[in-house]
């Protein structure tokens, strides 16, 4: 990708080796050389002496199965064998799936053992490296700036770029509101008078882009941000996207899927849009639907597959990202202890969701027989608080519930994967070792980390005065205080609302403001 210098007096986004040769002139805390091969810097500074002669562990993957695939080197102290050894049962038959899985294990093991030269540390008593907070903060600030021409494929995703970076920064304790003016300026040309936001100026409105735009505006908050959204037009547009089977297409003329359902439910509830179908909701009206949410839960029910997980659209393979979208949508539509068991086969769902976590990696995969990926820390990890709340039942008192089914996955495993395998040495988080960081992964890996650090529960209190979606606004959280934590206090992130993926207060502020500005139907 050729580096093209725009005529603008602004700083450029720095990118891993291939992408850009323009280092940013005014980085906050970047100490690593840019545009050089990864993994080469810092080897001298590393606070560990165990393996002086270590070479780059990017050895070719082994042919077939063998006991020799794991690095022979001793892991750091404090790391259980579960996270350093291949699984006990391994079939001899080699296929493409096992080749890829073995290669991934080979890549992850040095990181899981805390031995890879690129890991910065310091490592704690559990053998887990610290969160490189400053590096990630710098990476995300940087990701909001000017991209070189090679990133033209992002042209339809700019609302996402804004949301991912601001969400990540917020998790890391930064204040997103300082970006308010810039967010408003960026998003304003993307809104269409016919309702919704496109991926950029002159692009047709898309539910994904609109979701990202609405969340970005909620993050920066303030009346100007809320007032930017033409909610009347948004409501009418959503009516045109509503399909006869209860779901939503993502654009007019675009595909219908579970993403659309979740994005629509998020927008409707945060913006307090009328539930009544607007006049132009032709497809939905033709089959007798009366509201924007009619038939939506039933549509989601049809997306559960025989494996128990949830697919992007009915009949397709169960997938972690869609599972979150579906469960979060159901939990917006009503209390999860009602909506989830009414529409999902819960035992089957639990089994599938639980099977997404692998050892020794500790991270989640999105589908059966696929690889772990840091972004599922949120998509799969984010399903757990929702299911936990569904199993815990109706909240009994304003405080945390007395009894809880507890946490049903391995927090330790996920935290080890995130902190050990997903941190890019120069900032940003990634899918897995060997992959570049990007703001998508940075946002969702951090969201996943935050979710493991907090206990999410619902109360019978809601900042919203409305009956609609009262449950969605009744979530609270408290930090997990446990001797089992494998991260340090200094690695703790801000808590996010488990449905809206922004701070609780940011969601409440937007909702409450919108309730004060009812729109005419």
């Amino acid at each position: 990708m050729p580096p093209i210098i725009a005529g603008r007096p602004r700083r450029k986004v720095r990118f891993p080796a291939a992408a850009s040769a323009n280092p940013p002139p005014q980085q906050k805390i970047i100490s690593t050389p840019l545009a050089t091969a990864p993994h080469q810097q810092r080897s001298q500074q590393r606070p560990q002496q165990k393996r002086p002669g270590e070479t780059q562990p990017s050895s070719p993957r082994p042919k077939g199965k063998s006991s020799g695939m794991a690095s022979q080197d001793e892991p750091r102290p404090g790391i259980p064998a579960l996270f350093t050894q291949p699984p006990l049962i391994r079939d001899p038959l080699v296929t493409e799936t096992t080749d890829l899985q073995d290669a991934t294990l080979e890549k992850c093991l040095p990181f899981l053992k805390g031995l890879h030269t690129s890991q910065k540390g310091p490592f704690n008593a559990c053998g887990v490296p610290a969160l490189q907070r400053d590096d990630h903060v710098a990476y995300l600030y940087d990701s909001l700036e000017d991209y070189p021409a090679g990133f033209v494929a992002m042209d339809a995703s700019r609302p996402w770029m804004v949301y991912w970076a601001l969400a990540g920064l917020t998790l890391l304790g930064e204040d997103p509101t300082r970006f308010r003016e810039r967010v408003l300026g960026t998003l304003r040309p993307m809104q269409n008078p016919t309702g919704g936001f496109g991926g950029g100026h002159g692009q047709i409105s898309h539910l994904a882009g609109s979701y990202a735009a609405v969340l970005a505006l909620a993050l920066v908050g303030g009346e100007d941000s809320f007032a930017l959204i033409d909610r009347q037009a948004m409501w009418r547009w959503l009516g045109r996207l509503k399909q006869a089977d209860g779901g939503f297409s993502v654009t007019e003329g675009g595909e219908e899927d579970v993403r659309g359902a979740y994005c629509a439910a998020t927008i409707i509830s945060l913006l307090d849009l009328p539930l009544t179908l607007p006049p132009d909701a032709e497809k939905a009206r033709a089959v007798g639907l009366e509201t924007l949410t009619d038939g939506l839960a039933e549509y989601l029910s049809r997306c559960q597959s025989f494996e128990g997980g949830i697919s992007g659209s009915p009949g397709v393979e169960a997938h972690g990202a869609y599972a979150f979208c579906a469960l979060a949508c159901l939990s917006i539509l009503g209390p999860p202890e009602e909506t989830i068991p009414r529409h999902m086969n819960v035992p089957l769902l639990l089994s599938w969701l639980s099977a997404r976590q692998y050892a020794p990696e500790g991270g989640f995969s999105g589908r059966t027989n696929k690889l772990v990926d840091g972004c599922y820390s949120h998509w799969v990890g984010g399903c757990w608080p929702l299911l936990q709340s569904a199993l815990d039942g109706k909240p009994q008192s304003p405080g945390a519930p007395q009894t809880t089914v507890g946490n049903l996955f391995s927090r330790e495993g996920l935290d080890r994967y995130i902190l050990g395998c997903c941190q890019n040495p120069r900032g940003g988080l990634r899918d897995k070792p060997g992959k570049h960081a990007d703001s998508y992964h940075t946002c969702y890996v951090l969201t996943g980390l935050s979710a493991t650090q907090h206990y999410h529960y619902r109360t019978d209190l809601s900042p919203s005065s409305s009956e609609n979606f009262a449950s969605a606004f009744s979530w609270q959280s408290s930090p997990v205080r446990s001797d089992d934590n494998v991260y340090e206090k200094s690695d703790c992130l801000v808590a996010f609302h488990p449905l809206y993926v922004i701070p609780h207060q940011a969601a409440a502020n937007m909702r409450v403001w919108c309730e004060g500005q009812p729109i005419a139907t």
Partner: protein
């Protein structure tokens, strides 16, 4: 289009709409891109023709130009589909062009929706375009688990009623033969065998999304072809024997038994062989036995779940503990 639109007489009567990336607002916009000049120009003409809702040959050419620079631009695909229909273009030719684009941009999903929009035209395609299965197999040769391609293939089956088409099951078996762990292929097989047909709404399982039936009833067939179920169970067993620690066929078999309203217990003898003695060959077999024992022999079920928790699948310890607790509550 390297020579540009501004100097092209064909485009002389169009006033391009310049990109507003937010710079005009006074605040520096976020996540901007230093677009290549040719992209900036093409998209400014795109905005202009779209604003005028122009359905023309030159607009069609323009969409191709923009796609060649950024196939992730969803708007241009939707616009292109509308023009193709408005001008009554040859859609087979369009499909042929799409094949190349799809192979070049394997991760792109806009292409697949576009393809679906075209092929869904009954006027143009009363039956499935004959080369579709071959092309899809070509795609699977690049990435046998490509989610968008499988989504499209699922749609194709529903649209052209291909559940019993020999080619569908053949391709699934070819892919499972090549990689028995291809869960996407297993999912497709389930849909062919047990998925709802055209008298029911599209769903991952029959009986889904109905107020009168419980979620636990999802997937249960009203009428069962026992021979077909037996054949499928035999197929699953054969695949399990190739690689017993592969989750896909185990859960496929559970789905098949559930569809037929049959019990996991009928596999007890087959499954027990993987859990004999000290050498357990499949954690899925252990879990299967736990479910079989849960009916009447809770102690043995707890024993199985404890094996999973302590030895064969310890990363899921909390889940196995939960399962053990649930057994206690039922007892």
């Amino acid at each position: 289009m390297a020579e540009g639109y501004a100097n092209d007489t064909e485009w002389a009567n169009v006033t391009p709409i310049e990109l507003d990336d937010g710079s005009e607002s006074g605040a520096m916009p976020l996540a901007t891109i230093a677009y290549p000049p040719e992209y900036l120009e093409a998209t400014s003409y795109l905005r202009a023709v779209m604003a005028a809702n122009e359905m023309s040959e030159r607009a069609l050419k323009l969409t191709k130009d923009v796609i060649s620079m950024n196939p992730a631009h969803y708007t241009v695909w939707i616009y292109r589909a509308r023009i193709l229909f408005a001008l009554d273009k040859d859609l087979v030719e369009e499909l042929n062009w799409l094949n190349g684009v799809s192979l070049k941009y394997l991760k792109n999903y806009q292409i697949w929706h576009h393809r679906q929009v075209l092929v869904s035209s009954r006027t143009h395609f009363p039956t499935m375009p004959t080369k579709e299965p071959d092309f899809l197999m070509e795609m699977f040769a690049q990435d046998s688990k490509n989610y968008h391609v499988w989504t499209y293939r699922h749609w194709l089956v529903r649209h052209f009623k291909l559940w019993d088409s020999p080619r569908e099951i053949e391709d699934v078996e070819t892919l499972i033969k090549a990689d028995v762990r291809n869960n996407s292929a297993w999912n497709h097989r389930y849909m062919l065998r047990f998925g709802p047909r055209d008298d029911e709404p599209d769903a991952g399982m029959v009986n889904a999304g109905k107020s009168q039936s419980k979620p636990e009833e999802k997937g249960r067939l009203p009428v069962v072809d026992e021979d077909l179920v037996d054949e499928d169970l035999k197929y699953a067993q054969k695949q399990i024997l190739r690689a017993p620690e592969n989750r896909s066929p185990w859960w496929y078999a559970r789905g098949a038994l559930h569809a037929a309203g049959r019990s996991l217990g009928e596999w007890e003898e087959f499954v027990a062989k993987f859990v004999e003695g000290d050498e357990v060959k499949s954690s899925h077999a252990v879990e299967w036995l736990a479910d079989v024992y849960a009916e009447a022999e809770k102690t043995k079920a707890v024993e199985m779940l404890t094996m999973l928790k302590d030895k064969y699948d310890p990363i899921r310890k909390n889940y196995w503990d939960y399962r053990i607790r649930m057994l206690g509550q039922v007892a």
